[in-house]
Amino acid sequence: MKKLLILLIVMTISATIWAQKNPVDEIFEKYSGKDGFTTVYISPKMFSILSGMNTEDKDYQNLMSRLKSIRILSENSDSLRIPTHFGKELLKLLPAAGYEDLMLVKDQNKEVRFMILEVKGRIAELVMVSGGEGSTVVSITGDLDLKTIADMSDKTGIEELKDLDKVDKK
């Protein structure tokens, strides 16, 4: 009887510890679907399709096969609404969850901070938090190679991005 009780207590405690969510997950769950916020999610299943697509760029194809998911949460800069500054809220929580600072880019009226989460010596998540009129959080997960990601802008032509204006986000 005592053993059963101890087992139950241990299970409850471990479940409570285990149930503590990653701060990025928490922020997404808190604000996604709410008025004034836009969420974009590209799932691992979609990335498996993308990595199988024929492209001439081998580096790009390789990168697609290593990415697992992309999540974007952005706050629409709506003058009628008071901004929540959830980016700042998130930045406070990330160091405690094991995220490390990668870099901070300061512009005239914008601040972009990069944070990474390492698992077994590999970068498992890259979080980009940008503040300003409306915060944006981008979380990229997978087996990440920062150099390849940083070099992406050399390869992506602006022409390819024009089609995005036609896309309706959910």
Binding site: L7, A15, Y41, I49, L50, L63, L126, I149, M152, L161
Partner: protein, 188 residues
């Protein structure tokens, strides 16, 4: 035995550490006349009850005791076993519920975790846009790095110059020794 000694043995008696000899000394002391009034209770005890002999239990005492208590089912309180079963059932139910909750939370996904784009082409375009934005911001953050890179080049150039100067010094020393050698040979 004086009063002081009697008090010492008495305290031992209350602790239960007296020997039979000490106990008989106490009985002897309290049966005497010189017992102070404050030890009245002890005096009465030793005079009247200390001689009572408590009989040892007979050999079959425990077997008879077991015959009465051990096998008699009516002596077991039924309520306690019933409660034990309630506890067991409650604990099992709690285990099943917690197990279900853990499995459920493992499998359930938040509402936002649904692909925004069903068309891979659109998803690809969005991925490119995001990666481009991330890349541009990263580039901004590493703009200062080319200067550091050239500093590294300067360092390596300095190393080459150092090794070249070493070789030159060695050659000069070689020439010097050769010159000295030929001069001594000429003198001879």
């Amino acid at each position: 035995m004086d009063q002081k000694e009697a008090r010492r043995i008495l305290s031992k008696y209350y602790e239960g550490t007296t020997t039979e000899k000490e106990e008989s000394a106490l009985i002897e002391y309290f049966s005497g006349e010189n017992v102070p009034e404050e030890l009245y209770v002890e005096r009465e005890w030793f005079r009247n009850y200390s001689g009572i002999k408590i009989p040892d239990p007979s050999d079959d005492f425990y077997s008879r005791l077991n015959a009465v208590t051990g096998d008699d089912k009516s002596l077991i309180v039924k309520g306690s076993t019933r409660f034990l079963w309630y506890y067991r059932i409650a604990a099992t139910v709690a285990l099943i519920i917690s197990g279900y909750l853990i499995v459920h939370s493992l499998n359930s996904k938040p509402a936002y975790m649904k692909d925004t784009y069903n068309d891979p082409q659109l998803a690809m375009a969005e991925v490119r846009r995001v990666l481009n934005e991330v890349s541009l911001n990263m580039k901004k953050g590493t703009e200062g790095l080319p200067a550091l890179k050239s500093m590294g080049e300067a360092q390596s150039a300095l190393e080459t110059f150092k090794s070249a100067s070493h070789t030159a010094v060695k050659s000069v020393e070689g020439l010097k020794s050769n010159f000295n050698k030929t001069r001594t040979e000429g003198k001879q």
